[in-house]
């Protein structure tokens, strides 16, 4: 089973409200932001995996996968997973959450946190500038 998490857009209400007021298709903007975020998320996951791995073979990193943007009503998200088809995912899961013999060396949760804190607002600002809206 893969270790996975979803990444959604939150905390950007003010930006989204400005886009709505300007008559811009917010659903499309959100999809664009998530699409742009996907390779950054993969790259961050890869960096984190390399940092926490005791011996780096790149095998687990090769299983990093990102879904297309998904929708559930107004809820937009992408899913990131590590340890997909053809693997048990146990190594990735043990790294992320620990087990009875080792503490966790998380790579997934910090990647999401980094995206939320550092990357997402910068991407939204770029989009606001693209539409000539104040940031």
């Amino acid at each position: 089973m893969a270790t996975r998490g979803s990444f959604e857009i939150k905390g950007l209400d003010a930006y989204l409200e400005d886009l709505v007021n300007a008559g811009i298709d917010v659903d499309q903007v959100v999809a664009d932001v998530l699409t742009e975020a996907a390779p950054i998320a993969e790259s961050t996951l890869n960096e984190n995996l390399e940092r926490v791995a005791e011996t780096w073979t790149g095998g687990t990193a090769a299983t990093i996968a990102t879904s297309a943007v998904q929708h559930d009503g107004n809820y937009h998200y992408i899913e990131l997973s590590v340890g997909g088809a053809g693997t048990t995912g146990e190594g990735a899961r043990a790294l992320e959450y620990g087990n009875t013999r080792q503490s966790a060396k998380p790579f997934l949760r910090p990647a999401f946190a980094k995206l939320r804190h550092n990357k997402l607002k910068a991407m939204m600002k770029e989009i606001m500038q693209k539409f000539g809206l104040p940031t």
């Binding site: 959450y97 620990g98 009875t100």
Partner: protein, 110 residues
């Protein structure tokens, strides 16, 4: 920063009946039921004049128990009473060698 560990251990010490706990990983012979905790990468939330003014802490608490995950100690009440907010929760794979089942819960402290 060490205050967050003290806060977690103070919370876990209030659980009745008492459950052995430690900073992960648990050393020595594993009890049938025990708890480990650890701080996950945590970041500054706010800065003023170039100085950090607010930080959030994400802590993972894992409960390991032989024989299954029913009737677990009430970690939630202990942590919430200590000011933590419950976040994600997930079952961990059974340790085939020891027979322990695991449940990991994240708690946020602002």
């Amino acid at each position: 920063m060490s205050i967050i560990f003290e806060r977690v251990e103070s919370a876990l010490a209030t659980i009745i009946p008492t459950v052995p706990f430690a900073l992960a990983p648990y050393k020595g012979t594993l009890p049938d039921l025990y708890i480990v905790h650890q701080l996950l990468p945590s970041s500054a939330q706010q800065h003023a004049d170039g100085a950090e003014t607010e930080r959030s802490y994400l802590v993972q608490v894992s409960v390991w128990k032989k024989g299954g995950l029913a009737a677990l100690p009430d970690v939630d009440s202990a942590m919430i009473a200590a000011g933590f907010q419950k976040s994600d929760e997930r079952q961990l794979p059974q340790d085939i060698e020891t027979g322990h089942y695991g449940l990991a819960i994240d708690y946020l402290y602002l």
